[in-house]
Homo-oligomer: 195 residues x 4
């Protein structure tokens, strides 16, 4: 990739990471599997084209903290999710995952309606066995479900229901990691204030 | 607590953590929810009596690395598990959790048989709804299941099957964290060598 | 400052820091006072306008490692040095400090001559008492000395001799931190190879 | 060494490090060369017998923070200083270095007098050239000076004056790192409160 693009991407993710680490309300929304913050190159094809936090973002001393540094290829699941979403909406290049529970999902649904954001869900319990068993088939199916459940629109926020062995998680996507981190922190602050 | 005990516990967990961080074969066995390494005071009653790694042990640059420092009260699930086991066998004061999958469980079952270690399982799918819904009832039930499935013996290693929203994980327990970390690393090395 | 500039600066310093941390030959050139890597905004006036590594770059496990994250205002001495040099050559916006000893200085003098780089020295023993005692007068004097000793040219590399209470250090400056980090690592590798 | 000793030493240094990291008044007393905290085995002979902080203790985000983990052999100057002092007083096994300036030294002199602690000084300007040039001769000379300047008594706190290329630093020694860290923090708090 061009050095200019690497500089721009590293700069964006450094600032975005700082937004999340400084956001006190965010730490309680970090799920058991921890949070990653991903940023895909334009025209990205593989997880190697996606910049993410090595070791993910965890909670240390009550605060969100990156375990390692941003690196290309440091994310797998979140990276593949963004690559798949970008096939339907190429403006999507960044995302962050966070906790999911019924109260938060209800609140988020109203929050998204308010802002005119598309909110959706992936019900993993409906995933066909043949999809689960075919290498690489699961992510296209999931993203297809999220778009289908939103009447053909690409969602801004969606959650995956838990499944056997899988923690339910929410995902917020956007154009770049600074936008995504600021929206994430705003959500965390408002949700926290409303409890 | 007495300063002598705090010194001894902090010294043990520092050396044990080093064993895990230096063990190259261990990193691939860290589960999505990450590993914790716990060490309970003698006669511990609450999670505040259990020393564990703040932010858990995660994988950075391909290696196991503690996200934060050992602190009393830094662990919840693993701490309560050890407190519950200690009611049946007070010599159990330390534990480490790691990944679970069918191949590893089959291998571990044989490994435990070889060494004369009790191996067991907690099948979360059989957990009654009233247990799940009663605050604090789940852990006694789980430990009861693990002992029951081992014909009344307290297991050295056991795993919890996955459930909806829950990753399957394995647990190894023992008298102190150095013993536990060394046994964990030995298992990781042998399992890795055999693949 | 404009967000675009902050992104570009954070991206540059992240990549430059990675160059130094990955450069095995560099760690032995980190001085007792440790290394900083600085990057000034265009038209910078104060140390708050200079991005640098919080806690400096130290040696951990034999490797160069940033103690904290890049932050504006994290550097004092190096930041003021770059601000002062920029008054004579506004293209200078970045710098890194490293060890100084007679063998290395002799080698560097020849290396600079080879590449057509201006090499200079600040002899702190000649600093007048009234300069030392006047708040803020020392840095202009030093930079003036470095330029004077190079016959009026702004140096690419220079060193400050030790003084009472002061470790001798070398400094390499340039347009941006990536250029500076790559030149620093190249010097470290060649110097190391030649010993 | 015996495992019991390693456990006890690692436990002591972990708790002592926590005391320094939590001590807000201490960070401003960390010198440019940074602080180390050292703990020698009983009957220690070489720096490999001394446990110290890899990468030293630096200031990150305004707070004292260990750059790496405690390791045997991680310290050189401070380790040799403690080994040398222990030849005169074998009860000395731990030490910490910190800043030195005229105001602090005056305050410390009174503080030590108050507590009945021996306070001393090593005037590096009087070090003979033949000592400086003989490998390994400098430390015995220094410790000899510190004891001589205290009328033959081994000091609790002393400072080295600055020399050409050398920052002046203070040192506090004691029986173990917890004692040393608590005394260090008490000094920092009182000195800070009195300004």
């Amino acid at each position: 990739m061009r050095l200019e693009d690497a500089i721009q991407m590293h700069g964006m993710i450094a600032i975005a990471l700082d937004v999340l680490e400084q956001c006190e309300a965010f730490a309680p929304l970090i799920p058991e599997v921890r949070t990653n913050l991903d940023y895909a190159k334009p025209h990205a094809h593989t997880t190697k084209d996606v910049l993410a936090i090595d070791g993910r973002i965890t909670v240390v001393n009550g605060k969100a903290r990156a375990a390692g540094k941003p690196q290309f290829g440091a994310s797998s699941h979140m990276a593949r999710l963004i690559l798949e979403l970008a096939k339907s909406d190429p403006s999507i290049r960044a995302g962050v995952n966070f906790a999911s529970n019924p109260a938060l999902m209800k609140w988020l649904s109203a929050y998204c309606a308010d802002r005119g954001w598309v909110f959706s869900v992936i019900d993993r319990s409906t995933e066909p066995e043949e999809i689960k068993e075919t290498e690489g088939a699961s992510m296209p199916w999931k993203v297809g479900q999220a778009i289908k459940a939103a009447n053909g629109r690409v969602p801004k926020i969606f959650y995956e229901t838990g499944a056997v062995g899988k923690e339910p998680v929410s995902v917020l996507v956007g154009r770049d990691p600074i936008e995504v981190a600021e929206q994430m922190c705003e959500i965390a602050r408002r949700y926290n204030a409303g409890r």
